[in-house]
């Protein structure tokens, strides 16, 4: 006996022998669900959600890994759930682009598949002397085109395509515009891509537009980094070098094409089968992607050339997909609130949640959106480089060897390092954790100042005192002594590091405050703070609250939503309706320019210290 399992989003359906567990069913369906312990219920990684509702009779493994609230919401461990009847399961938050599990991915559930790309198999009558209709007319009279223009490539060899295929062809349409006529029945081959162009990393996803599934993912460094790590240095390169803009565009397109060839190889897909690509990125990345002069993004008043959705044929950019396929970018909102933020807003359906919701994407800029009661406010805060591990004495990106968590208990300091290598430095989330712990342990005070271990009334554990040393610029706290580090030198948090972090977190906190004031609410009105992006995934929420990164709200209202920017782009690729919502969100958003506001400056000063 078989039963049917439907996996959301993407509505992938599979018939399985009844009694096998959901983890095996997912594997058979090609749906990625992690299961590190091999089905024992001990790793807790195979979390999926029963759409039908609460998880009845949780197993011991489930009780261990899932909260009561999660169980009530239908969350189960896939390996613990044999399937005895038809079931629909939501698979979200399973993997991000880096192959690391996200805490809880975008809050959007199933998306109704309704792509802009249509394929229709046609068996046409061959022309005769009594029926002299032109080839093109013959094809399109069987289609409902809303845009009657096509491209010369379709027409140039249409006569041969029709006759070689004995008039059995598959026209491909994007939004009712014919872009290709393929020989025979190719309706089962229909793919699209999504790109999240970050200043640092470019991530690409290949999706099957018939099923809605992500069938391959690949990420690479944005090779524009040779012109500088941040958007300002990229913009300066475009301003100062005659060919700068062209070079920057070329770099990102090269990275994308390299990602594309990985995607195609992984999934055995050809470029001409990929008809649409949705891109998100910050406003500068968006400009550079299209080869649009970003010069006036850098100086006040920070003016982008465009904010609306732009689209072009792939051949205009030289992107390796169907040359007449469509590439589009979701709308930007302002010079420093880009389509990636719109992606986050879309993935979380930020305007459709209960109460008031803040979404934050933390990087060199912290983009903040606050939605509620039909209004959406956005701002961009100059969070500075601390969260990316830059300009921090031993800072580094969240890569192998980075300290990502710190525990200080009594006199002991414990660290968690990404990967299996010895610690090399500390990443942004690690720094927040370290500072929160240092604060708790009394190594620093609420103004951010180090406790002087020499001070007579210093109450610190002696073991901690020995870790506080004098550096060139004041005190430093040794997280890892030289003999245990990969570098052979101490890994420290310096007084200056703490100041950098204070500036950064102060800006984000103040930005949220200003938006709340404009909205007329206080922190207790906030239902949720959604943390988007890689950083949001790895940050320890307790620590974020401890350092005052956000207004003080209950811990369980802070939710990581993973790579929501990319998820938003996926939704926009898979569904016309979602794409329209993205437009709507961007149009609705009221952007608040903080740089000229006195209230922001006041809030910023107030937010520099740590909560008592």
């Amino acid at each position: 006996m078989t039963v049917k399992v439907t996996f959301l989003p993407g509505q992938k359906e599979i018939e399985v022998v009844s009694g096998i567990d959901l983890l095996k069913a997912a594997a058979q369906a090609g749906v990625m669900v992690e299961g590190n312990c091999g089905g024992k219920g001990t790793c807790g990684k195979c979390k999926v959600r029963l759409v039908s509702g609460p998880a009845e009779n949780p197993t011991a493994g489930e009780k261990k890994h899932l909260s009561e609230k999660e169980l009530a919401a239908g969350w189960v461990l896939a390996c613990q759930r044999p399937v005895w009847e038809d079931v629909t399961v939501e698979v979200i938050g399973q993997k991000d682009a880096y192959g690391r599990k996200t805490d809880l991915a975008s809050a959007v559930g199933a998306v109704e598949l309704n792509t802009c790309v249509e394929k229709t198999f046609l068996k046409l009558k061959a022309p005769t002397i009594e029926d002299q209709k032109a080839d093109y007319e013959r094809v399109i009279e069987s289609l409902s085109l809303s845009d009657e223009r096509t491209n010369l490539k379709v027409l140039s060899n249409l006569a041969q395509v029709l006759r070689r295929s004995h008039f059995e062809v598959t026209p491909v349409m994007i939004d009712g515009k014919l872009i290709s006529v393929e020989e025979g029945d190719t309706t089962n081959r229909k793919f699209g891509m999504v790109f999240d162009i970050g200043t640092t990393t470019v991530v690409g996803y290949l999706l099957d537009l018939n099923s809605g599934s992500v069938i391959a993912t690949s990420a690479l460094t944005n090779s524009q980094n040779v012109f500088g790590a941040d958007v300002i240095s990229r913009i300066n390169h475009a301003i100062n070098d005659k060919n700068g803009l062209a070079e920057l565009q070329k770099k990102v397109l090269e990275a994308m094409n390299e990602i594309i060839s990985h995607l195609y190889q992984k999934a055995d897909v050809k470029g001409e089968e990929v008809y649409e690509t949705v891109v998100v990125g910050n406003t500068t990345m968006s400009h550079l992607f299209w080869g649009i002069d970003p010069s006036y993004l850098a100086p006040a008043p920070f003016i982008p050339v465009f904010t609306r959705t732009l689209e072009a044929e792939a051949r205009e950019l030289g992107l390796n997909m169907h040359p007449y396929g469509r590439v589009l970018i979701l709308p930007n909102i302002a010079g420093y609130v880009g389509s990636d933020t719109v992606g986050v807003m879309l993935a979380t359906h930020i305007n459709n949640r209960k109460g008031y919701t803040v979404a934050v994407d933390i990087g060199t800029n912290g983009e903040v959106a606050l939605a509620g009661e039909g209004r959406i406010l956005t701002c961009s805060t100059a969070a500075g480089p601390a969260f990316e591990g830059a300009q921090i004495k031993n800072g580094m990106r969240a890569a192998d060897g980075a300290i990502e968590a710190v525990y200080i208990d009594g006199g002991e300091v414990q660290i968690v390092v990404i990967g299996k290598s010895k610690p090399k430095g500390i990443c942004g989330s690690g720094l927040i954790d370290a500072v929160a712990q240092m604060l708790k342990a009394g190594i620093i005070d609420s103004s951010g100042r180090f406790t002087d271990p020499e001070d007579a009334d210093c109450l610190l554990d002696p073991k901690l005192k020995t870790r506080i040393i004098k550096g060139n610029n004041g005190f430093e706290f040794i997280l890892v002594p030289a003999d245990l580090s990969a570098t052979g030198e101490n890994i420290v948090v310096s007084q200056k590091d703490i100041r950098e972090l204070q500036l950064g977190k102060g800006a984000i906190h103040a930005g949220i405050q200003v938006l709340m004031q404009i909205m007329g609410i206080t922190p207790k009105d906030l239902s949720e703070i959604l943390l988007a992006g890689a950083f949001g995934n790895y940050i320890k929420k307790e620590s974020a609250l401890a350092i005052g990164l956000f207004p003080a709200i209950p811990l369980d209202r802070i939710i990581s939503v993973g790579n929501a920017a990319g998820d938003g782009a996926k939704l926009a690729l898979l569904s016309k309706k979602e794409r329209a919502i993205a437009q709507d969100l961007a149009r609705k958003a009221e952007h608040v320019e903080l740089s000229s506001r006195l209230d922001f400056q006041n809030e910023f000063v107030n937010a520099l210290g740590f909560p008592e």
Copy 2:
């Protein structure tokens, strides 16, 4: 005191001192009206039409050069008419592409100027920190775009364009789609082009879209002729040579670009000021122009790839005009009834005339349209090469040295030669004239057979008898003896030439007959036969009737309409309404495929002889 003179089509208005004549007013307005005799009223070339109606009190010059009917319709000689009050004058039929006056140009009068190209000068506010609207949004919020897509080129340097021009710019839109943003106020520079791509000759016109005037004209041989003179040899080249299609497209585009550089030089216009181009041509030329495989036009069932209007950006073709300007071709009707015929139908507003109208464009193919009572029928007749002077013993194109008219009176033979050279050969219209005269003189009989001068009962004038000689293939009639010709050889009309002409005129006549039968009318129901094209201009109507090229109708119902195909394209360039009419005409046309019809074969056989 001044008065206002309005010239149609194009509605060019000018204020002139009252009392100057229309010829001078035209010169001041930049409207081309010929006036070879310098205003004496003797050359008769400055014909224009008073829109207000009949020409009162015609001068001696007018009486000499204009028929009573023409005078009644308002035709006057411009040099004979001082202007004492505001007046509107229609200037048509003044020059064709070859610089020769047409008999009576397209019957369409004034066209209401309503081009698809719009320019709007904008003085925008510069952005501030309180007004951070993106550059592109700032531009388009002042415009009413119906197509919100633009091109990356507009956006790539928009930031600089706006700031260099202090936010005073002129956006250019085609059908509500932004294609360019120009610095400063450029509204007075707005141009378009029209091309008539003939198998033999390509003619280009440059028009000022602000005034509607043709400001330059240029023509060149279609350099595809290296691959053969007729459409079939061009198609065969595309079929047989791997790069044939690409070569053919390249050739015609090269010819067009050469014409374009002449046009720009003549009128001092730059390519980036030319935003739209309307093209007409036969169906094969249309396919080759776009680089679309014409292979299946040649064999039955003669299937074109497309018939509808196609458009592309100029850069797709490499046409030297604004790269994002639009190039479009009027619709075709069938494999051998092309957009040039649609142009004729449009220029003559064939569906809007009184009674039943036949329009004929005579070349290697004779395209025929019959319109009346809301119906339009078309057919294509294989008229053969005789009308183009090809496959005629001493045939040549209508160029310098070609005999274009023949008079036989008593024993005398008089000829009219194009240009000032000695006769070199005979062109199509000359051949018709010669045959008509030979028929009248009894040199041939109504079956087309030569009278044997040796025959006892031959009643021919002895001088004519001596002109009938035996050639390799039967009799020949000497039009020009060897000592008077440019070639040093006799210029003759041979028995075979007459047979070729009979086949050609028989096909056209039979085509018209079949269309009339389908329409349910007889020749007496025909209000007009409109002759389009260069050939139609030069043909002597009496002779055409004498040889039975058309059904027998009164001479004054046969009207030459000049290069009506090009005129139609001009209308479509200047007026959205006319362009829509062109679509409508093409859609409405019912094409009749003659090749499979028994009735055509019967009519053809009947039409081979000459009228008694």
